[in-house]
């Protein structure tokens, strides 16, 4: 039973099944986000193929960092939740 008090919300009464479902949804969402992170890498490559002017290395590094961050978050969600 959820105690809905807008000044003081309490999730402690929730069924563990709810949290399992929440975990599944978060993991599915992160999987979709991983695809988006891959698209960013593809997009970066596409853009740097169009125009190279000297800063592309840094941009690619950040794109890959973002991908690693997404991967790390996915693994963290799997383990921690």
């Amino acid at each position: 039973m959820i105690d809905v008090d807008f000044g003081n919300i309490d999730f402690s009464g929730l069924d563990p099944t709810f949290w399992m479902a929440a975990k599944v949804m978060v993991i599915i969402g992160l999987l979709v986000y991983l695809v988006f992170a891959g698209v960013i890498i593809r997009q970066t490559k596409y853009m740097t193929d169009t125009l190279e002017i000297g800063f592309e290395g840094v941009i690619k590094v950040f794109a890959w960092l973002h991908m690693l961050f997404a991967l790390g978050t996915f693994v963290a969600a799997f383990v921690i939740l």
């Binding site: 999730f11 997009q43 853009m47 125009l51 002017i53 800063f55």
Partner: protein
């Protein structure tokens, strides 16, 4: 008549003046020295440029982006996004979540913030206008995987209009350069670019050079 004496200082002055003038390549525009900063918004004779639509013999004279001040809006949003977790973590219902969910929520928030910053920067960095000695280009990345490149020959340019309006644009010297052409795309716009008057001057000089080349039979 043989020179009896040539002052070294005169030669030095001449050399310094030549260094100030962009004398690389056949186009000489007595405005600026070469730009060595790859993330500059006004890149005059940039170093190490490769552009997919340019010919191998085409020399890239100017690479333009929107003035950096146009990035302030998303910069402020990004700053709020970076600082938001420190304030929202005390706000219900985030504070009521179990600790593990709060941690994952933080990670997801910063992941989205990083993606936002990367996307906005890519949109600024790669949406460029390029002026070569033969053509002008407008490169637009409309969305994640759609690219549009518009080009027009310099000798097809019919009219160049510079539009600078508003307090910010006047203070920071940026505006729009609207180019009317005789090509299939009748209008190419350089939006919110720095030093629009100098850009118009460069284009004018290039048009004059193209005319001269045509007269001399050197046009490519």
């Amino acid at each position: 008549m043989v020179d009896i004496f040539v002052s070294g200082k005169t030669n030095l002055k001449k050399k310094k003046k030549e260094q100030k003038v962009g004398t690389r390549g056949k186009a000489k525009h007595k405005i600026y020295k070469n730009t060595h900063n790859p993330i500059a918004a006004f890149n005059y004779y940039p170093d190490h440029v490769k552009f997919i639509a340019a010919d191998s013999k085409e020399r890239i004279i100017l690479v333009l982006r929107r003035h950096p001040i146009t990035n302030i809006r998303w910069g402020v949003v990004a700053l709020f996004m970076l600082l938001a977790p420190f304030f929202l973590s005390f706000v219900e219902p985030v504070a009521a979540l179990p600790t593990n969910f709060q941690l994952i929520a933080f990670l997801i928030w910063y992941m989205i913030t990083l993606a936002f910053i990367i996307e906005e920067f890519l949109g600024w960095y790669f949406n460029v206008n390029i002026i070569t000695d033969e053509r002008i280009f407008d490169v637009d990345f409309v969305n994640l995987i759609y690219r549009e490149i518009t080009d027009a020959n310099i000798d097809q340019i019919q009219d160049v209009t510079v539009q600078v309006g508003g307090v910010l644009r006047t203070m920071f010297n940026y505006g729009d350069v609207v180019i009317q052409t005789a090509s299939e795309v009748p209008r190419i716009e350089f939006l919110a670019v720095p030093r629009p008057d100098d850009i118009a001057r460069i284009i004018r000089e290039l048009r004059i050079e193209e005319e001269q080349e045509k007269l001399e039979g050197r046009a490519r």
